[in-house]
Subunit: 224 residues, 2 copies
DNA sequence: AAAGGTCTGTGACGAACGTCACACAAAGTG
DNA sequence: CACTTTGTGTGACGTTCGTCACAGACCTTT
């Protein structure tokens, strides 16, 4: 039930011995929904890996609006910078659901990355992947209108959690409208409006905790 | 005059011997202003390091509008992903000025990163820095209005190239309005308008190829 | 100097979308 | 079960900003 270290992408390919020595550096901690793991701008004294639940990393504007940079699920780690002199956190981390995480102190983390070239390479790959998805987010927020961003979001979610049921794809959305809005960079109301526009166009159906994609191809057409 | 390998951040801290063996992998190439180094989506067969000039990495929307993700100057490298299975370029690279670059083939690059743990660590740091600045760009484009983005851009440029002349800060802008617009995610005309608004507010002066910041503190106040 | 490009300012206009307002549904809590 | 809290839909409204249009300004090239 609990996540094994072997399943953590950051530790992929390590020997049992290495995993065991890593285990000694880990400390567990649980968070309620809405609790903050760390604040943007504060000195970042430790790194964490999500064991269960979901954590969002976001930035806040002076207006109060928030933009989610990424959300982390089981196995994902907050990719702090192992070599930087300034360890200010670039974003705020908040539990979206009740969540359990492993913490690693900054010193242990640095030592870990420096001693294991395997981890260093994995980290490079993870960073590069994040860089790519950040690049996509920049493109979307800057160049695409809200409707396209929303559709893209639905299709991305669909690709992650494929629960096919016949022709239709049932999509369990573990996010509120507010959270969707924060992810695609818009306002709560706008999400609701476009969602209903898509419903009227018979492309999706809306049920309490889920969205049913009736016509995936139809949605994809709207992205062009 | 030409950039030495020692000055390339990616190769920081390497021995002469290592630098020499790297040198054998490099091939030089020059580009005219406006020439494309590689296209978004195409398979990325090689990595490059800027020797001189300036290169922009950007994404294009179907509408034709472009968003610059980053610009690279002498010493900067295009941070491709050494471990990824899919090597599709995430952006288009275009020379903003006449530019000379070193190319490294994909295979040589992968070998280089895998054999040198020093390079691997440096790459981690560079990735992390880019991740941070990408995060900032996401925040800005999504949460801040154009005026603030423009002011932030001016102040950033100022921090990079400080040419003080008495009280005022003379800022040589090597970008056209169009390029500024592409960087901060807006339209050419909007940049011109806000620039003149700032001029009317006596915060800056506009001369043919330069912008003079008359009141840095005044600009910073407008960011809050 | 004329002629052609590229870069720039400015006006006018409309669409997209953020904000405020409220009503209602759902879900937790006593 | 009331009662509060949280999430949700929808209308009305105003602002921001992207687009189209055009006129100068500047820089090359002949």
């Amino acid at each position: 039930m609990t996540l094994s270290l072997k399943e953590v992408p950051l530790f992929q390919g390590l020997s049992e011995g290495e995993l065991n020595s890593i285990k000694t550096c880990l400390r567990e901690k649980s968070f309620e929904k809405g609790e903050i793991l760390f604040y943007e701008g504060k000195c970042c004294e430790r790194v964490f890996i999500v064991q269960s639940g979901r954590v969002k990393l976001y930035r806040t504007a002076s207006s109060g609006r928030e933009q989610i940079l990424e959300t982390l699920g089981p196995g994902d780690s907050c990719a702090c910078n192992p070599g930087s002199s300034t360890w200010a956190c670039a974003s705020t981390a908040e539990a979206m659901t009740p969540a359990a995480v492993w913490f690693i102190s900054r010193n242990d983390y640095v030592r870990m990355v420096n001693t294991s070239s395997k981890i260093s390479h994995t980290l490079n790959r993870l960073f590069a992947e994040k860089l790519k998805s950040f690049g996509s987010l920049i493109e979307e927020v800057s160049l695409k209108d809200v409707k396209k961003r929303l559709i893209k979001f639905l299709l991305d979610m669909l690709a992650e959690t494929t629960h096919k049921s016949g022709e239709e794809s049932v999509l369990l959305i573990p996010f509120t409208r507010e959270e969707i809005a924060q992810r695609i960079g818009t306002a709560r109301e706008t999400v609701a409006r476009y969602l209903y526009q898509l419903k009227r166009a018979k492309l999706i159906d809306i049920k309490p905790k889920q969205i049913i994609v009736r016509n995936k191809e139809g949605l994809e057409k709207l992205l062009l």
